[in-house]
Each structure stands twice: as C-alpha cells, then as structure tokens.
Symmetry: C3
Subunit: 265 residues, 3 copies
Amino acid sequence: VRPITILSDYGLADEFAGVVHGVIARLAPEARIIDLSHGVPRQDVQAGALMLLRALPFTPPGVHLAIVDPEVGARRRAVALRCAEEDRLLVGPDNGLLMEAAERFGGVVEAVEISSSPWRLEPVSATFHGRDLFAAVAARLAAGEPLAEAGEPMDPADLRRLTLPRPEALPGGGLLVHALHVDAYGNVQLDARHDDSRSAGLELGAALRIAGQRARFVRTFADGERGELLLYEDAAQMLAVAVNAGDAARLLGLRSGDEVRITPA
Amino acid sequence: VRPITILSDYGLADEFAGVVHGVIARLAPEARIIDLSHGVPRQDVQAGALMLLRALPFTPPGVHLAIVDPEVGARRRAVALRCAEEDRLLVGPDNGLLMEAAERFGGVVEAVEISSSPWRLEPVSATFHGRDLFAAVAARLAAGEPLAEAGEPMDPADLRRLTLPRPEALPGGGLLVHALHVDAYGNVQLDARHDDSRSAGLELGAALRIAGQRARFVRTFADGERGELLLYEDAAQMLAVAVNAGDAARLLGLRSGDEVRITPA
Amino acid sequence: VRPITILSDYGLADEFAGVVHGVIARLAPEARIIDLSHGVPRQDVQAGALMLLRALPFTPPGVHLAIVDPEVGARRRAVALRCAEEDRLLVGPDNGLLMEAAERFGGVVEAVEISSSPWRLEPVSATFHGRDLFAAVAARLAAGEPLAEAGEPMDPADLRRLTLPRPEALPGGGLLVHALHVDAYGNVQLDARHDDSRSAGLELGAALRIAGQRARFVRTFADGERGELLLYEDAAQMLAVAVNAGDAARLLGLRSGDEVRITPA
C-alpha cells in the first residue's frame, strides 16, 4: 500500500478535506494519508504547483493528490500521471498544477485521462471532483491497482503546463524578479536563484535596494539586525526577501505575482 | 478496531483538537482518526449537524465524535447512540448535533446517557468534555467495548432534535428559502432541493431573481459566465447559489440562517 | 515505534507542517503522528511552552517535537531531551519552549545538543530546521535509535528556561494576575490557581471586579447568566476569565501578557 499526500485549496473551515480522507479510508483503509496543506490560496493553480514542487521531495514516494481546480465541472481534463523517477503517481486536474512536480521527478512517462474513470463514485457531482473522482482514483492507486486501469491513456505531450515568470537582468545592473509566494511569516519567495543573482553581479554581503528600500544580501535572515530588510536563500534554495523579526510582504506591500526590482545600493 | 471521525468547533489555533487525538491515542492506539473539520462556526449546533450529515455518508462506518457544545458544564445530557444502519455509533452532546446524521442512517436504535460514564477521565473538567468525556467514550467504543457499558440506557425518543428551516412556495411563484451554510468559496447552500424548485415552477435553464439580483438556474456553476450569479445543485444534492469565479455570499450579503427569495425573472 | 506529537507556529496555510510529516514518514514509516497544534502565535515561545504543558499529559508517551524558533539560523542550540518520568523525549530549539513540559515530567535527565546531529538532512537550510534537523531527529528517536547518538551530550543545567509571570497579592485585597493565553472562544487563561485566589481572600461565589468590570467567581462559566463576566477554573486547573456565550478577551481588550486586576466588588 502506498502513502497518499494531499494538497488542496479547500481550507479547513469546511468538511471538504475531511470527506476526501473519508473516501480514501473506505477504499484503501491501510493507506497512510499526509496532508501537505489545504491552504493553497483559493483557485491559485500556480501557487499550488509551486507548493507541491517544494513539498514532494521531502515526502515518501506514493500517490500525490492535488486539487486546485477553478474549472471543475467545465471542460478541463482530470488526469493521473506516473513520473519517470521514484514511482511517484500524481492525481489531479489537468491545468498545470501537477507539472512542476512532475518535472522534478523526471517528467511524465504515463498519463491517463480519468474523467470517466471506472473507479469514480456515482453520481459524480459537478462541483466536488475531489470527493467523487480524485480521492477515489488516488485510493485505488494507493491500494495497488494499475494506473492503466484508471481511465483512458493519453499522450503526456498534451498535458497543460504553466508559464512561470522568469527573472530578467536589468540594464543598469540588478534583477527584475517576481514574488512567487508569501508565507505566513511574511517572507517572500522570488523566482530567482543564487545563479541569477551572481549573473546580475549581486554578491553575498552586498548592500542592495529591494523595491527601493535599503537591504542586505545575507546567508540567512538571522544574520541581519532586528528590523533589517534582507535577501537570502530560503529552504527551497530560492532567493527570498525577509525582515528580521518582521513581515517583509507587509513592509513592501508585496503579493504573489508582483514584480520586484533588486539593484546594487 | 473501528475508525473514529471527529467534528468540532474547536478551531485549530488552540491545542483542543490535538488533545482529543491524544486521549484517543492513549486509550485506543490502533484506532484510525479522521478529522472531518474543526471549523464549525463557534457554538453553531445547526451548522455542525448539517456538516456531519454531509460528511458521514462518505466515511467508513465507525465511531463518529461531534462536539459543538454551547451548554457544556450546564444541564445538557451527553450521549452515545447506535444508528439502525451500518453499525454507526455517534458520540456527543444531546443538543440535536447528532440527530440529522442519525436519521440518515435509519435513526437511533440504542441511546446511552454518558455524563457519568465509567470511562470518563477524572477529574472531569467543567469546560472540556471533549477531552474528559467524549474522547474517552469514543476511544473505548472504537476499541470494541459494548455501547451499553458506556453509561445509563435512555429512551431514544427523549433525544433533543433541531427544528430546521423549510422552504416555502411564494404566492406569486418562486421559493422562499434559507441559507444553510456558506462555504469558504462563498457558495451558499440552501434548504431546498430540485423537487422544491420544480414544485415552485423553477426550471433548469430559467432566468431568475435571487435576492433581487438577476441569476440563472444551471446544471453546474461552470455553466455560467464569469461573474454570473447562479442557482445549481451542489455536491450534497441541495440547491445552492454561487458566482462563477466569485463569492456569492459577499455579493448578496448572505449569512447562514438568512432568508432568500428566488423568483422567476 | 513511539508516537510523535508536533507543536509549532507554522500555521496551516503553508506546506511547512506537511513537509515535517513527510520527513517523518520517510524515516519512521510506522510512527503515528499527532498534531497538537500548528497555531502557536508566531514566534511566541512562552505561548508554545504553555500549550505544550497543557497538552502533553493527555498524549501517549513518545517523542514530542516542538518548533517555535525565532532564532533559527542564529546561535541558539537545538536539543533533544529525556524526561525523568514516562520515557518522554522532547525535541526542539533550546529557547525555553520545552522546559515547562519537561518539569511536568520530572525534569530533564539526559540532554543532547543536536545542531550537528549525524541524523540531520544535508544540506541543512538556514531557515527550516523543523524539516532538516528536528523532524529527522524526532523520527529516528521514534524508530528506537538511542538518544545518545542524536548528537553531543550536554549538561541539562545549561538549558535555557523561561521566566514566567507570577500573580501578586494586591495591598487592598485581590490579585494582580497576567493573561497567559487567549483561546479561540475569547476565554483568557490567567497565571493563577485556586490557591492564589484563596490566599487573596477571593471565594467561590463572590462578586468581583476584573479589570474594573463587575464579575462573579463561579464553578463553571455555564453557571453564569448570558453575557455575564466570570472567573472560573479552566480545564488546565488554571483560573480563567470568560463571558457566558461571549468573548471575554474582546470585552476587556486583553491580549496574552497583559496585567489584570481582580478585586472584591
């Protein structure tokens, strides 16, 4: 029996996540379930895709269910995928949510369209595919049933992919980056890595301007002084902005998707 | 060993739900625990009863613990119940919280008053019966001890029931309904079903007015245009109001319990 | 295999708590995990320490992981501790977070500094020790590996401790107390017990002033009338302030850490 991880934008106020657990427990009573988070910002597919990418390398191989599905009930496909590495199976809507994580594990080697899966719970509701379709398919896969029987085979090349922002070098030096994610501490993950900052001539220890404010490029935010604005490499090996003992997103008024200019001071 | 589901209004900011897990893990280490939700609106017994009703048909049979208990420490009874169907056991306060779910499983065939249960944790606090009473009783039942030993037998006819609102046909056509539940997406579940709308002359595809606003009666909210106000059947087979890619509760200023008029346009 | 409990200030919006589960599930697939709460107020070490103290007596003995770590990446030690009683192991930062719970179980009899633990996940990030250090150490201990192999031995006397507030008798009668914790219902736990109130001449049933407002000292908040301000003993056997069917913290404008005067009316 494989473990199942779940990521969704259901939140925890409603019973949605609990019902997904219930469906899995009926169909695969032995499967361990790990909630990665149900706190993806509502219907934000990109945020969910990046959260899945950050989390999966630290989970056991198994079935990875992800549900951020603004087009539920419309024409979007539902899919189950096998990655090239580590026998990881991904289940969710075909809207790009699964694809960053899939690339991390060598890409998709087998794809199945599951909208009419023989494993679905009838009657399939128009709005709660997490319960009626995705949970049921994830549970059967966890219990060891073959992926090919989950639905109709499809060409992995037809899967939808996200277009993620990319950092750009600024003409006068520095980087134009984007806020990928604001965590609950107010730390802001950017779409850049150490390689990008090095190429743009930004060195560890340097004084910077971030969105116009004085800042410093440090190894960890604990290296800064209380209240200081800092650029550092976060736990996902992405560059991030923080305020020591403070909230960088609030200080800079940043939300995920926003552009940020980082320049030498 | 039976699985245990938990529903409560404890929220997740405090350690209350974790402590309930702890008590169960001490008394029934093998029992699987499924959190349905700890996000029932504070002390809203009706909201909890409806959430339990929506969730339980999708969970495995077992012990179903529910705690929304504004009268804790006062005179209300605490009870453990056996349903007629599927060997489902319900544990919680006798304030109506358990009874909608009980009806769904054929009604109550055995009821036990557990306020002085021999299984309670001494000293029983005046405020945290979830820990000292309900979790302990649920754990023992999950471990296979007989319901009759949980406390004193009582007549199921004496259990308290909720009076739920019912939709009414409006004289000029249409329905007067009530908002039962607002989910985290802002979708509003109503106390009406397709049968009610048909009786009131409202047909799928029809143009409507909901709380005075132009709306349409569709199969699923994905059938509407972006921003359109919609009436549809939700995943619990209840009629519901949504805005495609929006928040219907906010648009209409609706909270659970509010009256809503649905009329032909 | 020992069970593992987790307490943190990670919240549930991000994937942090899920990733900690993932790391444990990889290293100790058989270990049961109990989330006590991830809702400790951000970086509030005292609040976390008190939450751990309230919860642990109700959990099975095992490994107790706690992460509220404002100094992560700075010089603070990371530790794993064995308590004198019940074979309880505590894992977390050496900032006082673990010590109230440790005292509850007879104090620390073995302490190990784990910052350079051979069990850590390389590369250890500067910011997510919950993932790279604490979860890995907790998992190995749960799987039965010896505490002494988790890192370098240290003297338990060198562990950092919190200085908690203490109630003071007021010259004219009554008590000066402190708000330790505001729960999600708005009930305010104080740093006083029945012994303190008795010493200060406050008797059960008495009319009081709390922060200047008329109040009553009752056995349980259900003994008060609707809307009445009440002093009572809470489920952790601490004195607490509540409003029957209301929110005492909001009424009195209290936050954790605030001083509160309780005097005879």
